[in-house]
Amino acid sequence: MTGKSSYVRPRCGMIARFILLTAVALLVWWVLWFMFMGSLMSLEELNATIGPAMGTAEGSATWPLLPAWPTLQPLVELLLDTPQFFVMFWNSFKIVLPSVLGQLLLGAPAAWALSRIRFRGRKALTTVYIALMLMPFQVSMVPNYLVLDQLGLMDTLWAVILPFTFSAFPVFIMLKGFDAVPRTLLEAASIDGAGYFRTFFSIGLPLGLPGILSALVLGFLECWSAIEQPMTFIKDESLWPLSLYLPQIAADKLGLAMAASLMMLIPAVLVFLFGQKYLELGIQSTGIKE
């Protein structure tokens, strides 16, 4: 083999890899492009391009690279003249914020106990949390319903918030985060006379922060995009979160639908971008065997 070819071949391999990666990445980039450009299009242009796929025009759908006449009109209309949108948007937050806060307040101490306090039955209890975390909604929907019905909470936002609050998944993620706190540190604290609560607040929470943030990011994304739970437990449309409203939005409101989709996407993407490190950490911790 000559020096030249051995130099060229790895370069070719590298280029091929980049092309492959870019091709796959286009499947994601294109979606973002569509969402942003779509919300800058006028209703006329939307009808002319994707109207056929929405049943509002004849022919077949097309999509331009850039809008012919970019306009903020649908976004402005959505934000200023559509009170219905605001109700849904706030419903989403009214579900997500208490859920995630509850996951943190109730889940963090539980995770700490499962991770760092040695007590009888710890292994068995951890298995219960893992099993619950892995169960799909089909399994929990009936038990949830039976309780919510008994408590008279069906058709309220609490019907979605409470089951989320007691979700086992964030407990597991935080547990994995707390596992990184060295036991020697806890023993030293104990010798210095710190009790369980002192140890939890002054050592556990600061050192377990990455795990807590992971749970928060994953919890937010899960609640924000939830569909099954509100669909099952909330019949009253005035209580619906945005995630339920969007799939039902009428085709004649194409401009609004585009803008609303973007508004649904933005909080999730922002949380993703700021929390990506913790998101990855959280995913990795599901991959550590028990």
Binding site: T62, A110, V128, F166, S243, A268, I283, G287
Partner: protein
Amino acid sequence: MKGEGFAALVFLAPSMGGILVFFLIPFADTVRRGFFDARGKNFIGLEGYASVLGNSAFRLAAANTAKFIAVCIPLLLLISLVIALLIRAVRPQGKTFKTTYLLPMAMPVASIVLLWQVLFHQNGLMNTVLTALGAQPVDFIGSNAAFWVMVFTYLWKNSGYDMILWLAGLDGISDNLYEAANVDGANAWQSFWYITMPGLLPTMGLVSILSLLNGFKVFREAYLVAGAYPHDSIYLLQHLFNNWFQNLDISRLCAAATILCGVLLILILLMQRFFREAD
């Protein structure tokens, strides 16, 4: 420290209380109700379970769910592994790609439901492209093709998750091994076969089982493709459960939930045993 049991109880009580009230106790009631008739009065034994297992909609949904898992999960594992290897190979520029592939996981299904309709509708963009290429248009949502649209959507949304797990597994393999193999004159394939693959084995077991169990959560992708009333090929357990729920067919629902939970519990316990033996 003393009083571990008491301290653990205090820390765990709020969370365990909620789990008992919202999941464990009502689940026991769910199992019980499965043995009673629709009004919850008369004990009917296993009849309810038999009627669920014999129900044609249940069979269709269970078969579709099983088919989906059998087809999609191997694809998911393979694609995410290839992506992870490619990203490692282009280090340090792989970070942009990693972010890109992970992003769909964060995108709410509701925000892209409009786009999916534009893509896969009879007069949608995919068919525009197909027609331009001289092919016949495909009914993506109303035919068996819906199954493949759902598989594609699931892969699109979830490959990033598995990619992160594979990358963590790859990070666990010492660079020294590759360097030593390089010195011994091993080529890229040999390094892959004799170092990467064996090194990834523990990860592989775990990613497979996690992905398998997550496969039962596919409903959102099906809902994205076809809404609440989909084509038969993507009629899943969650659709059936929603259906029975709307008809207040609670005793059947209880029996079905118990059956599903039993199947999953067996899988989960097998997983635990598998990993205990691997240690």
